[in-house]
Assembly symmetry: C2
Homo-oligomer: 232 residues x 2
């Protein structure tokens, strides 16, 4: 038998996937170690490592030092979805993005926002805006900005530039969290989106920090019909 030859980490990855797929390596089973696979595949261990590491990142394999590599028992497939600017999102749909600032104030936020950001009773900049796609309401943006860490924002004309655009360009964040849910449209949301009260809205809640300092919390309520899609 002639030993097949895999010289790229992609081809190694494909071969590993193939074996998992034909159940030569069934879920839960241990696969040979990197050194053995490298010998069998006729390539360097680093190449095998690259392939297996990528598969582990994708959730297909479980790897632990000394314990070896096994095929994930519960293949927790990971979907990666990109979080674009709303203007880019609308443009990608081939529509024209519009934006209107509906309200702006500096007030003490309600308890849930305070808890989320951890800013206590300090007043924050509160913004309410409507994004449109080809003049149709697209998403209502309800945002709280920790004005203490980005005081420059007080002087920005947010009727021409969206808060998010200014923030991504001027106040980068180190980390954040994002949550997706469904909510019934409030009276205000219904009015801005031109839909009945109680309609099902796709809602994205995002909070971002720069180190320990909270930057902003935003709730995006998308008009009915919105789908967030990705490949797995």
């Amino acid at each position: 038998m002639i030993a097949p030859h895999f010289n790229t980490w992609q081809s190694v990855q494909d071969e590993v996937l193939r074996r998992i797929h034909i159940r030569a390596w069934p879920p839960g089973s241990a696969i040979p170690n990197e050194a053995d696979l490298a010998t069998e595949f006729g390539c360097a261990r680093a190449t095998v490592n690259r392939a297996l590491r990528a598969l582990a990142e994708a959730g297909i394999l479980d790897r632990r030092r000394r314990a070896g590599t096994r095929v994930a028992l519960h293949p927790v497939r990971k979907a990666t979805l990109s979080i674009p600017l709303i203007s880019a999102e609308v443009a990608a749909r081939g529509q024209r993005h519009g934006y209107r600032l509906l309200a702006r104030s500096e007030v003490c936020p309600p308890a849930p926002v305070r808890a989320q950001l951890g800013t206590g009773t300090r007043p924050l900049l509160h913004l309410l805006a409507l994004h449109t796609a080809d003049a149709a309401p697209y998403v209502v943006e309800d945002r709280w900005v920790n004005i203490a860490v980005v005081p420059e924002m007080r002087d920005i004309d947010l009727s021409v530039q969206t808060a998010n655009e200014w923030l991504v360009a001027n106040a980068p964040f180190t980390h954040g969290d994002i949550a997706f849910s469904a909510h019934a449209a409030s009276a205000a949301e219904a009015q801005h989106l031109g839909i009945p009260i109680g309609a099902a809205l796709f809602v994205v809640d995002r909070t971002t920090w720069n180190g320990a300092a909270p930057i902003t919390a935003v709730r995006l309520a998308y008009a009915p019909g919105y789908r967030m899609q990705t490949a797995i």
Copy 2:
């Protein structure tokens, strides 16, 4: 000035992030090439490559051969969210998972499902099931299975094992797509979940293929209050 020394790809990554943050390398600007950075950081080019590649995968950097590396202009942050089995999801919340098969039939699917799977007018296995968490309704599962590619499924008792559990163990998929949206509860969904008709439901639509052969299309309608959360 003493040249700082970075010997792990993580530390290189941290330093690059730091420079992006302090705007030494502002959005859109090109950063030095790998060889120069390796010299400056006192490490191998492979180490710099590892760090920059990871940042590119995260959407922080844009890299192109010959053109070099630049800080992403529109930081399309990528969120990765894992798609667990529902039983694992419920268990992770510290609740007990329950499952009840509500209906099972082999019929020709409606047009949207036919279009999604591309199986034409061939009859498919249709399943309707309710998952519970600590006896409370959790999610309604509406699934179509391409029985032609997994005929063994005809003989499975799906009242004890969920269709998804059987499928992940016996009919692995090569790729798929997943979409998230919000929908108003239908009469049937409202009844099964014990909620009013028209309540806002978080809906996940997932379709999977094995190569060119469609395997299954499933719609998961979660009970109100469900949040899908991840870090960015």
